[in-house]
Symmetry: none
Subunit: 156 residues, 2 copies
Amino acid sequence: MRPLTDSIEAFIKSLLEDGQAQVDVQRNELAQYFRCAPSQITYVLSTRFTPDHGYVIESRRGGGGYIRIVRLRESPGSNLLYLINERIGKTISLQDCDAIISQLNDNGVIAENEAALMHAAVSSDAINLPVARKDELRASVLRSMLLTIAGRHRDM
Amino acid sequence: MRPLTDSIEAFIKSLLEDGQAQVDVQRNELAQYFRCAPSQITYVLSTRFTPDHGYVIESRRGGGGYIRIVRLRESPGSNLLYLINERIGKTISLQDCDAIISQLNDNGVIAENEAALMHAAVSSDAINLPVARKDELRASVLRSMLLTIAGRHRDM
DNA sequence: TACTACAAATATCAAAGAAAGTCAAAATGG
DNA sequence: CCATTTTGACTTTCTTTGATATTTGTAGTA
C-alpha cells in the first residue's frame, strides 16, 4: 500500500501543476482531508519540500493561519553556480544529493535519463566507502557532474 | 526435497512472466506466504537476482516499504551486461572507462550529454582518492551507472 | 485605548509502528 | 567436510500518531 506521505506529496504537487508558483494550504484542513495527524503534513513538507527540492515554505499561525508552499524556478545557470560554489560543501549526504538531482530534473535542467545516471553515480552502491569518506566523495562526484552541466549553459 | 530457495526463486520469476520488466513485493508478506524468515527472501534475492543473473533490486524501508525486482534486458547492439558482469572487474582504469563510455555513445546507447555526465563522474577530479583505491571506486561508479542504463526499458 | 482572555491556528518533539537490511550461528545435504 | 540454506536477533530507515508549546487574531472590558 502506498504510504500517506506519497499521496500528500502528490496532492500538493498537483496543486502547483497549473504553472502556479505558489499555493496556500491549511494544515488542519489538509490533515482532515487525508485523515491523519496535522504533524503528518509538517513531516511531508519538511522531507519533500525543502529548498534542495526547489521549494520554500512560509507559514503563519493563529486565526487565518496558513502554510504557503512556494516553488522556486530559477534560471538553470544561476542555480547551478549556487549549487557548485555554495550549496555543495566538502561533504553532502545522499538525501541532499538526491533532492538536488530531482529538483534539476523537475526544473528541466536535466533530462530524466540524466537524472537517473546521476542518482546512480552518487548512490551508496556506487560509492562504496567507509561512512566517513562517503559524503566527501559524493560531493566531488556531484560537483564534477554539475560542472559538466554548467558547461552546457556557458552561452547564457 | 526441493529447497525453499528454489521455490521462492521460481515464484518471483513467475511474477515476471507476463513480459513485465519489474515487480514489487513485500518481504514480510512473501516470507509469510512461504512460512520462512524474512531474511530468507533477502538471501534468495542476493543469490539469484543479481546483475549477473540479469536483475537489479531496489527497495524502500518503513511503512509502505517494498522490494522491487527489475529484470535487465540487453538492448540490441549494446553489450551492457557483458560490460557490467565481465569487462568491469574489481577495478578499472580511467582510460578504459572513457573508452567504454565513448563506445556506448558511438553506438547510440547513450546520448552525448549522458556520456559527458558519465565521463565527469569517473574523472580524476571526481574520484579524488589514493591511486590504489581510485580504480576500485571508478569501477563501482561506472557499474552503477551502467546498471541504470540497463534498467531503462522499464516504463512500458 | 490598553489590557486580558480565549480561540484558532501552526511548530516541535519524542515515541510507537512498519517495513527492509545485516550478520552470524545453526541446520541441512551431498 | 564443505557449501548452501535456514533462522533469529539486532539495526536502520521511514512513517504515523499524539502530547505539548508557541504564535496570532479577536472579542470583551475597564
